[in-house]
Amino acid sequence: MTKGHVCWRALLAAFPYTTPILAGFAFLGFAYGVYMNVMGFPFYYPFLLALVIFGGSLEFVAVSLLLAPFAPLATFLLALLIQARHLFYGLSLFDTYRGLGWKRFFLIYGLCDETFSIIFTAKRRLPKDVDRGWFMLWITWLNEGYWVLSALLGGLVGGMLPFDTTGLGFVMTAMFVVIFLEQWLHESCHATAMLGILAAGGSLALFGAQSFMVPAMVIILLALLLARRPLEQRYATPFSESEAAGDGGGRQGTAVERGVMR
């Protein structure tokens, strides 16, 4: 198989998985472009912001940051707080993104909520003859492309047409619910799924919608670390057998080494 063939095949396999993102991002990105246009920014602003930041909620916040007085430290801290959830994605996909060379950079660069969800769901039923790296790269690039292009389009078309997109972003909520349910159906132990809902819900009730994410993340992380002993056996099922075998061997090796050292 030639290289181009591998790449093309992965694109064909990846596209169907990104269609819900296409629907959601087309509307959200367009709304973002229109929003910036109405706020008085030229069309290349939403395009550039979408390209470099590529994180929906922060981009909307960035508009108000640009309109407010210049405050670099506050900007940086706010951005960190809003985007802190990406830390979890990196932790979860660390093994999946292993050994992919230059593709890794682009995969991590475009690791947004939606891309993480799709990659996590899709990799379970990836056909054997599709290249894993290209497949994930195409999912990342397609999602990024949808967002950037629709933001550009919204910025260009701007206030010209009366268009109300409120509520259409609900596509995303529906998608996340479906992914959550799918995960629920796949797993044998529902402890962490319940933990996610309860920690987020409780923290939402305590801290309010503006600032519940970081406390919720801390609670989830602490709970997972504290309950590691009982949970580790239940969540030991790795993504593919070959990875598990390889790592099991490696761990055994280190144990033997340790024994020799002693």
Binding site: Q83, G169, A199, P238
Partner: protein
């Protein structure tokens, strides 16, 4: 348009980018890719995602006004009530086996039809609509505040 000089705009955007990329790249930079994955990271990688999806579901619904039936499911605004009906038509095209979760999709249009059936008179609906858009909704307030949906016209 903003009053900021160009260099301040550039710094603001760059800081946002830097913070985002820091959160994305940090796990990959801190943990060595050459050695085998530490057991703790492996455990978190297996156990975290389910919790993350729960978190994301709550994140999407965070601004929903739960106290206001029947619009509560529809982000508490009249606009959302009609437009999320459209969204629920879009959603089944999701490539992730929609068939298994079809009750989820079927529930929404049913509820929307019921809420439209119980809708107040046209004028009252419009006034309520404009009043409610000022309150918090589950997504960002768009630039257009006037309801243009086919029910309000």
């Amino acid at each position: 348009m903003t009053d900021m000089p160009l260099y301040q705009q550039a710094i603001t955007v760059l800081l946002c980018t830097a913070a985002t990329m820091l959160t994305r790249f940090l796990p990959f930079l801190v943990i060595s890719a050459r050695k085998p994955t530490p057991p703790l990271v492996r455990y978190l990688g297996n156990a975290l995602p389910a919790a993350i999806f729960g978190l994301l579901v709550v994140y999407c619904l965070k601004d929903v006004a739960w106290g206001r039936p029947p619009a509560a499911w529809h982000a508490g605004t009249h606009r959302c009530r009609c437009h999320s009906w459209a969204a629920s038509l879009v959603a089944p095209h999701a490539g992730l086996d929609g068939g298994r979760h079809s009750p989820l999709y079927a529930a929404r249009p049913t509820r929307v039809c019921l809420s439209m059936w119980k809708r107040p008179a046209k004028q009252a609906g419009r006034a309520k609509c404009n009043a409610q858009t000022k309150g918090p909704s589950w997504q960002w307030e768009g630039p257009l505040r006037v309801c243009r949906c086919w029910l309000c016209r």
